[in-house]
Symmetry: C2
Subunit: 509 residues, 2 copies
């Protein structure tokens, strides 16, 4: 019996591994056959603008997802929290007879803001086009996909959300459909959750979780978001950093001044901001804000081991990104990502280039983001930055300065905090974590890259704190996808491989 | 004989002083009677967009000026240099029988770029509106001037060029017309020169001067540009600072990076720029670039005396501008303006505010202007800045970095220089300078403010070097005119007073 069982087990395992099906069609064969239809459907999805704050279009995305799910026989439900009129998360559920585990799959359908002028000339971020490769690397724009045309899996699809994170939504729904259509068995109960406010800090996810706690229970939520390791190897990530944004504004005169008539006399807010930012972080990237690196939870032995095994891609990355050195050449990327950061996302004062004029600006603004690791608290971290600004002689405001404040304080800084959240890390040794690892490994000849925490941020602490559920992230897109920026793109073969990865997890027992 | 002569002279002087005319109509009476027509005509002029680089509209301005001059019996001539197809300067000439001196009057009809989004809501910079006062000071927008409506001289006309420097053009032409229409005698031959490229550094004025050297000869060119002293008193300026602009760009990775995945590892160009700018100028406004304050020609005894007599408006200005202190509280404005400066006009890296996203920007740009005083050479001053950037470990480029340069140098800075020019200063004791001073003083009960050099810049060295002619500046507009910036405006009474000032100079002998 034992030997027969083992044989059966091995046979099933091989079926999964090589994608054998009752109909004799492997997942790869299925995907190859359906790739044109899958790409066309994905382009339709990407063509619905999805900037988180564009509520009208966001709701169109949610409605489109309901249709996609209905096509697959999944009854979609729009989950909201207690705040009225907010963007819904789209939920669905599949029960698998005999399954002992429930795995949730999460992705988000909203995207970052777009500034079309910054994208490749002539490209509308919401009218996806194919490119052979990024134009900076010698690629060219092929234009919109023509129905029925051959697809080179090395090409990329360019558009907002193409990688972050409609790719996740697309891969989850199509992995399920692929298993159904090729007649393969599911191993687990499946829950689907597609959020529409991730890029604005998942501001209502806590409400949704609290309100639908029972519905959202699972043995593990698998997050399909973020990029695979730079090596291109399949990747599991066990944690995320927290994140909080700060908008810092410093002030000069109330009105713009002629730089000839007042220069070298009236304070220049751009110079003030330069001094303030320079005081926050040295030229080697070390944050100089007092206590900034305190509170950090040390890494476990497994995490240290995993970090040491991550293939270093620093040299490749530097070449690819066109940089001579990292901020601190002694610190490899994998180590840098395990620390809290302070980063300037953007900076503006009056105008530059053709729009510049000989003025002293009235104010200078920097948008900062603080990434947080396990142990950091986002509010405490922000307080440290505020204390730093004060220590530089600034009176800190939360609103535009009044006349009285202007008359009283030599240095005025407005600090606005956007919603933030803390880091989350799942132990790598948990049984469910190991099962997922094995399932994913079965789809790849190369060994997986196991990352204790990604550099990016998702509000995964909510899964742990409210649902009491572990979380593991399986990123599927290419690392050089320009997520959050202009010319966001996904390499097409990563979509197909992502579908395979998710299908394997859906089949595990 | 002597006494009779003296009597005649005094009589004539009084005529000038009180604006008596053959028709018995004073200049003030004339202006009061004609103010509605003058304002309407000025609004028509301001409604022709005049951004220096907008060639199509710039030529419309030139054509409009030809018409204005023809209306006044002045034969206009479009002067160009040797470069083909460039913006012409509009020239005209009036010979006065018996006059021994020729005075040229210069103003410019082009303006700085506009970013309408930065102007008061709903205002088109080229559709002038009346305001009761700046909105920051509690003023309100009255809307477009309605033909025939009463005019409060304390109101302001808002629009690009309203102060800088269509006000100069308007006042010169209407001063001449006022003298003709009130039947008053001219004392000097008059030349008119209206330039269309001042705001882009008067890039062809040298060619125009060389080509039309004889035509443009005069005993003195009077420049009508810039603001009167903050005290509101009528002002003469004997010099200008030179100016040169630098656009400084520093680089990060070739593509925008997710701040979570690469933050604290990939170099952040916004931070690099902050450090670089902070290294150039300390927090008290002292420029730290090596040798920056060398080369400066010391002030003469007359200049020092004049500076000491300029009423200090520092306290008033600080209040009005909403600043607690100047950059260096020990240095009054009049002293600061006699030194070379380095000023940040604008700064930009990726986006801030609603457009911000969690990226590491690819580059950061600052537009700087260097103001120069007598003794400085603009090329030498720029070289000092370049040497400073190099001393901070930067490889300095004049174009975007190549792949090879990115691979070779840790720090890359592109430095682009815009056309610059040197300072100019006319000795205050010259006879022609004293005559103009007396004429202007005759129009004001308050004593004039005499300024050895204004803070702003005009390419006045060309008048001296090419034409061999002295230059004196008589600014006419209110100091708080927002020139070069959004919400540029002129206080209406300054237009009428400007016309009176210029008329007095046209009547001097």
């Amino acid at each position: 019996m034992k030997s027969r069982f083992c044989y059966s087990f091995s046979f099933l395992f091989l079926l999964v591994l090589y994608g054998g099906t009752a109909q004799g069609q492997s997942l790869q064969e299925y995907l190859k056959k359906k790739e044109k239809a899958l790409l066309e459907s994905y382009i339709t999805f990407l063509s619905i603008p999805n900037v988180s704050t564009d509520t009208v279009n966001i709701l169109k995305n949610a409605a489109y997802l309901e249709d996609l799910m209905a096509d697959r026989g999944i009854k979609a439900e729009l989950l909201t929290g207690t705040t009225p009129k907010v963007t819904p998360a789209v939920f669905g559920e599949i029960k698998t007879p005999g399954a002992s585990k429930t795995i949730g799959f999460y992705a988000h359908y909203d995207g970052q803001p777009v500034n079309p002028k910054q994208w490749y000339a002539g490209v509308d971020p919401f009218k996806p086009v194919l490119i052979t490769a990024p134009l900076e690397s010698g690629g060219k724009i092929l234009g919109p996909y023509k129905s029925g045309a051959e697809i080179n899996p090395e090409w990329r699809l360019l558009g907002r959300g193409a990688a972050d994170d409609k790719a996740g939504v697309m891969a989850i729904l199509n992995a399920y459909q692929a298993l159904v259509e090729t007649g393969q068995r599911l191993g687990v109960n499946i829950k689907f959750l597609f959020e529409g406010e991730e890029e604005v800090g998942s501001i209502h996810l806590n409400e949704i979780f609290k309100k639908h706690k029972e519905k959202l229970k699972a043995d593990c939520w698998v997050i399909i978001d973020g990029p695979r390791h730079v090596s291109g190897r399949k990747t599991i990530v066990y944690g995320v950093r927290g994140d909080v944004n700060i908008e810092l504004t410093v002030y000069g005169a109330k009105r713009p001044l002629h730089s000839g008539n007042y220069g070298n006399w009236a304070p220049n807010p751009a110079l003030k901001l330069a001094h303030l930012l320079a005081s926050m972080k040295d030229e080697k990237g070390k944050v100089l804000v007092k206590g900034f690196y305190e509170d950090v939870t040390p890494l476990t032995a497994s995490e240290k081991k995993a970090l040491a095994q991550i293939p270093s891609q620093d040299a490749l990355l530097k070449k690819e990104l066109g940089i001579y050195a990292s901020e601190n050449p002694e610190q490899p990327l994998v180590e840098a990502l395990m620390k809290p950061t302070l980063n300037i996302n953007g900076m503006q004062s009056a105008n530059v280039g053709a729009m510049a004029s000989n003025v002293i600006p009235t104010k200078a603004v920097a948008t900062l983001d603080l990434r947080l690791v396990k142990g950091n608290d986002y509010q405490r971290q922000v307080e440290k930055v505020i204390a730093h600004v004060k220590s530089r002689g600034y009176h800190v405001l939360t609103q535009e300065p009044t006349e009285a404040e202007r008359a009283k304080y030599p240095n005025l800084a407005k600090i606005e905090i956007e919603h933030g959240y803390n880091a989350q890390r799942t132990p790598m040794d948990l049984p469910i974590a190991k099962t997922i690892q094995a399932a994913l490994q079965s789809t790849s000849k190369e060994s997986l890259v196991l990352i204790p925490s990604m550099g990016g941020s998702l509000p995964l602490y909510l899964f742990e704190e409210i649902l009491g559920t572990k979380v593991i992230t399986v990123p599927i897109v290419n690392y050089d996808n320009n997520q959050h920026a202009e010319n966001e793109n996904v390499k097409i073969k990563f979509l197909w491989e992502g579908i395979e990865s998710i299908a394997a997890i859906m089949q595990m027992k």
